[in-house]
Structure formats: structure tokens, C-alpha cells
Symmetry: C2
Subunit: 244 residues, 2 copies
């Protein structure tokens, strides 16, 4: 059996760690990967610190099919993702001519008298061998290097980049989840759920408590790439729920 | 100089990795830690898989003052956090009598004829030596073991637990951030910001692009425990912004 493709995400962002910004990139990428049949196995939020980025890249790149990073590819001093990734991969950090060309044309078009600054040029520096990931929202591209996809941190730009690269990702069977909300506490269905999970080890069976209008309930989630087995499990759940 | 206290979070949750649920716990804990002067240095979202939990716990517990986990402490088969942590710490996994007592009283009070089930009792199992972290929303407690704080995954329950334990955390100087939004693109202020960062290495100076009503701008964030130096930096920023 072919191994299903997997993914990990590194969110590079002091603004998430300080609580200033709510991360939205994880959920977007997670949902897109799910549709593509790529299993997201881990997300790390780390600080904008070179040694932390290098460590995370080196450790995670060998543990998954696709490694995504978000954040830190802009023109300012705290944008250190590209250089850190170059170091992590022992690659030169140099100007990508295609990126420079795109950036120069954009800034020239915007204002013919505007000097193309060092900060503008910074966004063209990438690890040697990078392939650009364009986006429809801004000029500055993300890039792919080895199995690493380096994306912007701003959600709408990141999303635009992801849409561009999506067709290049080789997925597996779509991972489909079915949810069932019941107004029964988790404790009362725990035993039956555990038995079903035991009988169907290839199905991922999750149970999440909720409270709505003061009433406790449980969301039961059945996740699998095998829709036939999912349906059997769902029928079993319906059957025992009726008896509780 | 005394080292500032640091923290890391492990979010244990297939529901986050599948994109089904938006994680809200990171931002809440991050903001609370900030107020307490505890620096959050990393967040990991991992799957409900024993070996992953053990690996993350062992690796991260020695790298921070406080390690928080959220999720996986309920009564169902997929709640494996407590047992995995016991294994990670080479501690026995057994009934905490205080927790059992609380749970029994609650279920007896709720329904005198209700049998106290195995699933109910599961929530009293903890690593040997655990100290309870009660909460005002439910009966099931979280717990502290060594420097690890094991909290619920459901946000309002997690928050209630966090409020209970908060006063036991020894913080540092409050970490205060000042934000400044300017309608100037990042590239145009990159050089000045870099110079200020260089002159004030103890200040964390962040720069985040935004777009509002079609207009690009930059949020500049000055973060420090030293309010005097923050003010000097803010003044410098105001001065150069006026010239751009």
C-alpha cells in the first residue's frame, strides 16, 4: 500500500506568540490539505529567531511529504525566514532573477521616479534553486525549495499563494469527515465509542464535548479515506445512540 | 540578571489538524502569559497519538519554565493525554483520590440512581503526584505535574482552569506592546526600522503589513519589559514617520 502524503506547518510569528494576532493560516491550510487527501500531522508556531527557524526546518523537513512555512518573507529587518531557510539547507542566499524582475517592473510601473530600494530588493533574495510561488494579491512571491513551501504570513496573500501551488501537490484519497451532534454527555457514550474504534482501527473516531444553551452534548467525528467503512461506523453509532 | 520565565504550549487535537476547529486556546494563553511577564516561545499542535505526545512532552518540558497542554483529558477512548504524560514522565498512571471524590459526589448529586461508570472514573486517572487544577464550569479537573499544566481542550473550560492556576505562576516583568498603524508600505520604512532595531537590541520591533479599504499600511509593534526604552523607540519611530 502506498503511504499517504503528509504535511507539517511552521508558523513563523512573534505576533501569534504574543497573542496579538489570532492565527488563521493553520485552519485554512488544514482544510485545503484535507480536501487534497494530505494528512496534516503537526503545526509549530515559533518565534522570528534564526536558530529556531533553522532547527524547526531541519527537524521537520524529513518527517513529512510537504513542509509549509508562513510569515517572515517581507522587506523589513524582522523578515528572516528566507535567509534562515537557506542556512538550514546549506544553500546560498542570493537574488532570484525572476523575482527581481517582477519586483522591479512593479515598482517602476507604480512610480517611474521611485527608487528601487534595498528593502524592495530584499524580497527577491531566496535560497539558491528556489522556484517562485506567485500570488494574485501582491508582487512579492513565495517560493518552493526542496519539499518546503515558503508562504506569506498575511492570510489573504498566503491563501492566494496556496491556490497557485495547490495543483502541484500530489494528494492521496480525500480525507472525509462526518460529524454527528448528540445531546448526550461523553461519559455515557464512551464505552460504545471505544468498542467501535477497536473494531475499526483504520477509522479515526473523535469525540468532543460541547455546551449549547446550557445543555451538554457531544460531537462525534468519523474521519476516513474509506467511505464505505465510514458509513458502516456511522450506522453503528446511530444504532447505539438510539438505545442510550 | 534573572532569566525571564518562559512557556510553551502543546495543543493536543486532531480536530485542529483536520481544520474542523479553529484553535482559540493559543491566543488566550498567550495574552494571559504576556500580562504575567511570561514569554511564550513555542506552540505545537500535535495529533492524539501516544508516541507524539510522549515525544513532545519529553522534548519541551526541559526547554521552558512552564509547559501547558490543552485537550484530551475527557472520558472517551481518544482522551489519551493523561496516560501519555504519565508514560512520558515514567510515572504510574493511577486514580487520584481527590479527583475521584469530586467526580463521585457530582454524579451522585446529579442522579442518585446513576451508576458511576468506568468512563466517569477515567477522568480521575492521572500521573502519580498530580495536583488538581479545578474549574468552575465542570467537575473534571485538570492537573499539574512537575512543570506541566494539563488543561481541557474546550476553550471556556480551559480558560476557567487557567484562571485558577494563574496565581501560582511566577511571572517576570510585564511584557508590554505598543502598536502603531501607519499608511505607509513596509518597504519605505524598512531601513529606518532596521536602524532603530540595531540601536535597541533589547526591544522587540515587529513590522506587519495590512490592507484596509484597498490601502496598504504597516503595523509597527514595539514590545519590551522596559517601558522607558519603549518610549524612546516610539519617539524615534514617530520622528522618522513624519519625514517619510
Amino acid at each position: 500500500m502506498q503511504q499517504s502524503p503528509t504535511a507539517k506547518i511552521i508558523i513563523i510569528g512573534n505576533e501569534i506568540l504574543s497573542g496579538k494576532t489570532q492565527d488563521e493560516n493553520t485552519q485554512f491550510i488544514a482544510q485545503e490539505l484535507c480536501k487534497l487527501g494530505i494528512k496534516l500531522t503537526e503545526v509549530r508556531v515559533i518565534a522570528d529567531i534564526e536558530i529556531e527557524i533553522i532547527k524547526a526546518i531541519r527537524e521537520l523537513k524529513t518527517q513529512c511529504t510537504y513542509l509549509f512555512t508562513t510569515g517572515g518573507i517581507g522587506p523589513t529587518h524582522d523578515d528572516i525566514t528566507s535567509e534562515s531557510i537557506a542556512k538550514a539547507l546549506n544553500r546560498d542566499y542570493l537574488i532570484n532573477e525572476e523575482a527581481e524582475d517582477i519586483l522591479r517592473r512593479y515598482y517602476y510601473y507604480k512610480d517611474k521616479n521611485n527608487e528601487f530600494s534595498e528593502a524592495n530588493l530584499k524580497m527577491a533574495y531566496m535560497p539558491e534553486g528556489a522556484e517562485l510561488i506567485p500570488n494574485k494579491e501582491t508582487t512579492a512571491p513565495g517560493f518552493k525549495i526542496e519539499n518546503i513551501y515558503v508562504l506569506a504570513g498575511v492570510p489573504f496573500i498566503m491563501q492566494s499563494m496556496f491556490k497557485e501551488l495547490e495543483e502541484k501537490l500530489i494528494g492521496g484519497k480525500a480525507i472525509i469527515s462526518h460529524s454527528l451532534d448528540v445531546y448526550i454527555g461523553e461519559s455515557r457514550i464512551a464505552k460504545d465509542l471505544a468498542q467501535i474504534q477497536k473494531d475499526h482501527p483504520n477509522i479515526e473516531l473523535g469525540s468532543y464535548p460541547f455546551i449549547r444553551s446550557g445543555k451538554w452534548g457531544t460531537t462525534i467525528v468519523v474521519t476516513s479515506t474509506d467511505q464505505e467503512e465510514s458509513q458502516i461506523v456511522l450506522n453503528k453509532i446511530h444504532n447505539f445512540i438510539d438505545r442510550v
